[in-house]
């Protein structure tokens, strides 16, 4: 088997198609020669995943197989993305599921990398919930050049079970559904009418399934800044005034019914391993409620608006109750921004104090209608500029806050909201595929370290026009369309896998900590070189938020960009160690 090599690599260390580690993935103390291992030993809870990467090096045809007794093994081949404007740089991220023993070739003709010597694979090991404690063994086998090489694999099944629901919600976001038509052009060619809406519904379910299985959630906002939405997102509001009513729930029910009763998650999407997390209702959804639906904005401020609002939201509530859809947070979220001119006030990221009056009034109407309902209605506000004031001024109106990372300036206000029982997330971006692999774990850790409920990357399904040969870095995507690979649905990314494993670690750590979670936070914070809370920017101290802007705050975009702290790439080791039964002082990967 001359010229072939197979090696195992820690999940947090990526390699390019020439066998070189990704910039930033190796800690200062890690010797290059120690990265590739000839054996794998992992610890995993029941119901949890453990993962590692496999590198195959050589030239020609080969087969890679993976088996571990009593453990479900998933194998996926990494796609090397060429970065736009950098024709000699390729980085692995999209994961194409393959069967164990599948035939492959190096260099990969589809990936078309001149001189490729290395192919990276991702291995997921899933421990059944009824697996007994103890070691399970198996191997990764490379068959190439008429010979075999094997890497022994040992999984120590821990005497602990992963909780059904995650401690922090990694909440992936999207706008509308029509991006699916661009991502699956062959599937949508010639589709019209109800068949098109059915296909869009099915594709959205597949996206939900992928994120759900990766211990996350998926939100897709139906209404645009104008308030208009496609018919799968809500019934028709017809009539006027005292006769305003909702009609035609069929498309809404087809989309949301399986999400709200959890049945969507009983099966996996196309090409994916079987569903394992469980058929539980989705954590939360956007509702189609907005200032111009179901009540008409032409009557805003008048009794006609209030009557239409009360009638239709009561009808909406009744529909959800009748269906028994009471396990999911149903969010009244206003997305419009005044900079887009449909409304004069900001629904999202309110910048001017005068706009709060609209929120107070619409939230008052909303809470009056849904008070006492078993449906988990929520008034959600995504806040940035004025969150410090709004966390206090809108307390009692807003019960779900999604704040940009400037929340780190307002620890006391944030903790008061948490203490009031409100749900608090932060939002930001998705780390680029060029960033250190461990960056995918920072939002997970920060949500937990701040005692928050989750993190929302503002856009998670848009990998750009050509993610394969001119990638924009994937900062707005953690999944990819599978159509190119013959998969009729989305495929996961390495960043999503790392994030999922990090969420598991937080879940297991929280489980182990029990009522000591706050003490554990305080204990860990000084040992992890990531700032949990920060001092406000100078501008934020001296100017009213109405006078802040992207120039004087020195941010490259409107609020939302999160500058991640650069750290030793193994910074998450303490959490991994604690989660999997250690003391919290071991390092992964080990230093030599």
């Amino acid at each position: 088997m001359s010229g072939w090599r197979v090696a195992a690599v820690h999940e947090w260390i990526a390699h390019d198609p020439f066998g070189r580690p990704k910039d930033g993935d190796l800690g200062a103390g890690v010797a290059l020669g120690t990265v590739m291992a000839d054996r794998v030993r992992l610890r995993a809870a029941r119901g949890a995943y453990a993962s590692f990467r496999v590198l195959v090096q050589g030239s020609g045809a080969y087969r890679l197989a993976a088996v571990v007794a009593g453990i479900e093994v998933d194998l996926a081949k990494a796609w090397y993305h060429r970065l736009a404007g950098d024709v000699r740089r390729w980085l692995p991220d999209a994961l194409v599921p393959i069967a164990s023993g599948a035939s492959c070739v190096l260099p990969d003709p589809d990936n078309a990398i001149p001189g490729q010597t290395t192919q990276e694979f991702w291995v997921d090991l899933w421990v059944p919930r009824d697996a007994p404690r103890g070691a399970r063994t198996g191997r990764i086998t490379l068959d190439a050049g008429g010979a075999s090489q094997a890497i022994p694999v040992t999984v120590e099944v821990l005497d602990i079970e992963l909780p059904a629901e995650p401690t922090v919600v990694m909440d992936k976001n999207a706008y509308g559904c029509r991006w699916l038509e661009r991502q699956y052009p062959r599937a949508y060619a010639g589709l019209t009418g109800d068949a098109r809406w059915a296909r869009l519904t099915s594709d959205l379910h597949n996206v939900h399934r992928l994120f759900h299985e990766h211990r996350g959630c998926f939100h897709h906002l139906g209404h645009g800044h104008s308030g208009a939405f496609d018919p799968i997102y809500g019934p028709r509001a017809v009539g006027a005034g005292r006769d305003r009513r909702l009609e035609g729930w069929e498309k809404f029910d087809a989309l949301y019914g399986p999400l709200l009763d959890g049945s969507c998650f009983a099966t996996a999407g196309p090409g994916q391993p079987r569903a394992r997390r469980g058929a539980t209702p989705v954590w939360g959804i956007y509702s189609p409620l907005n200032p111009d639906w179901p009540a008409r904005y032409v009557n805003w401020g008048e009794e006609g608006y209030r009557v239409e609002f009360r009638r239709c939201i009561a009808e909406f509530d009744r529909h959800l109750r009748d269906q028994g859809w009471t396990g999911t947070k149903i969010e009244f979220f206003l997305n419009h921004k005044k900079r887009y001119r449909w409304f004069g006030w900001d629904g999202d990221e309110t910048k001017y104090a005068k706009d709060d009056a609209y929120h107070l009034e619409i939230a008052r109407l909303f809470h009056a209608v849904v008070k006492g309902s078993p449906v988990r209605w929520s008034y959600r506000m995504d806040a940035s500029w004025r969150q410090g004031e709004q966390l206090e001024a809108l307390a009692g109106s807003v019960d779900f806050w999604v704040c940009n990372d400037w929340l780190s300036w307002y620890r006391e206000a944030a903790m008061r909201a948490v203490a009031r029982g409100e749900t608090v997330f932060t939002y930001g971006g998705t780390p680029s595929i060029a960033a250190p692999s461990c960056d995918a774990l920072q939002p997970v850790y920060l949500a937990w370290a701040r005692s928050l409920s989750g993190y929302l990357p503002w856009l998670s399904i848009a990998p750009g026009d050509d993610p394969w040969f001119a990638s924009d870095g994937g900062g707005t995507a953690s999944i990819y369309p599978g159509e190119r690979f013959g998969v009729d649905g989305p495929i996961a990314s390495i960043r999503l896998k790392i994030e999922r494993n990090g969420v598991q670690d937080i879940d297991l750590m929280s489980l182990r900590a029990g009522d000591r979670a706050d003490a554990l936070r305080a204990e860990l914070e000084p040992t992890i070189p990531i700032r949990v809370w920060k001092e406000p920017a100078t501008v934020a101290r001296v100017l009213d938020p109405a006078d802040w802007d992207s120039f004087n705050l020195e941010v490259g975009h409107e609020p939302g960009s999160n500058a991640l702290d650069r750290t030793d790439p193994a910074w998450f080791s303490a959490i991994r160690s604690y989660a999997t039964g250690g003391s919290g002082h071991e390092r992964h990967p080990p230093r030599r």
């Binding site: 008409r296 005044k338 001119r341 802007d549």
Partner: protein, 178 residues
């Protein structure tokens, strides 16, 4: 009813509404919807900070609400779905137009997130004082009529855009999102 209408029928109907818009919209009020600071940033965008003008966009809320409601009502006069918006020339940079207020998703020119744009040829024609009809093209699936908006000096300070879909375009293909 709308299924039988042709482009010319729609243009004629929108032209009638345009006369109403020109007669009833007060140009001085229309120009005061956007705050002076917002005009200032829209007139002189900072290329290195492309979001600065958006960060500074603000309105007189009561005026914006009044205009929005009026434009909604105006749209209901059309025999087909019609979305109405108000363009105003940017104070201090009258070669630029900016949307002060709009409704719906049918727009001929507005691009999501834009702050201002040079006056389109149809807007320049409208500034001379007459309503202008812009029919669908091979790349634009809309029928549009622009109605001049005059101030107390009888100057045209903006225009109302009345846009409907080309009846040849299936309704499900029309935008639901900007």
């Amino acid at each position: 009813m709308s299924a039988t209408l042709r482009v010319d029928d729609i243009a004629a109907a929108l032209s009638g509404i345009a006369r109403v818009a020109t007669a009833l919209i007060d140009g001085d009020e229309a120009r005061r919807i956007i705050t002076d600071r917002a005009y200032w940033y829209a007139a002189d965008p900072y290329p290195q900070h492309i979001h600065l003008a958006g960060d500074s966009m603000d309105f007189d809320l009561a005026r914006h609400d009044r205009m929005k409601k009026f434009l909604i009502r105006l749209g209901t006069l059309a025999p087909v779905r019609c979305d109405a918006g108000l363009w105003v020339w940017v104070k201090g940079a009258e070669h630029l137009a900016t949307i002060a207020c709009h409704n719906g998703e049918l727009h001929r020119w507005y691009r999501f997130g834009e702050n201002a744009r040079p006056l389109e040829p149809e807007m320049i024609a409208c500034r001379r004082g007459d309503a202008v009809v812009a029919p669908p093209t091979s790349t634009i699936p809309f029928v549009t009529v622009l109605a001049p908006v005059r101030d107390s000096l009888d100057d045209v300070v903006g225009c109302v855009e009345l846009t409907a879909a080309d009846p040849a375009v299936p309704a499900e293909k029309l935008p639901a999102w900007s």
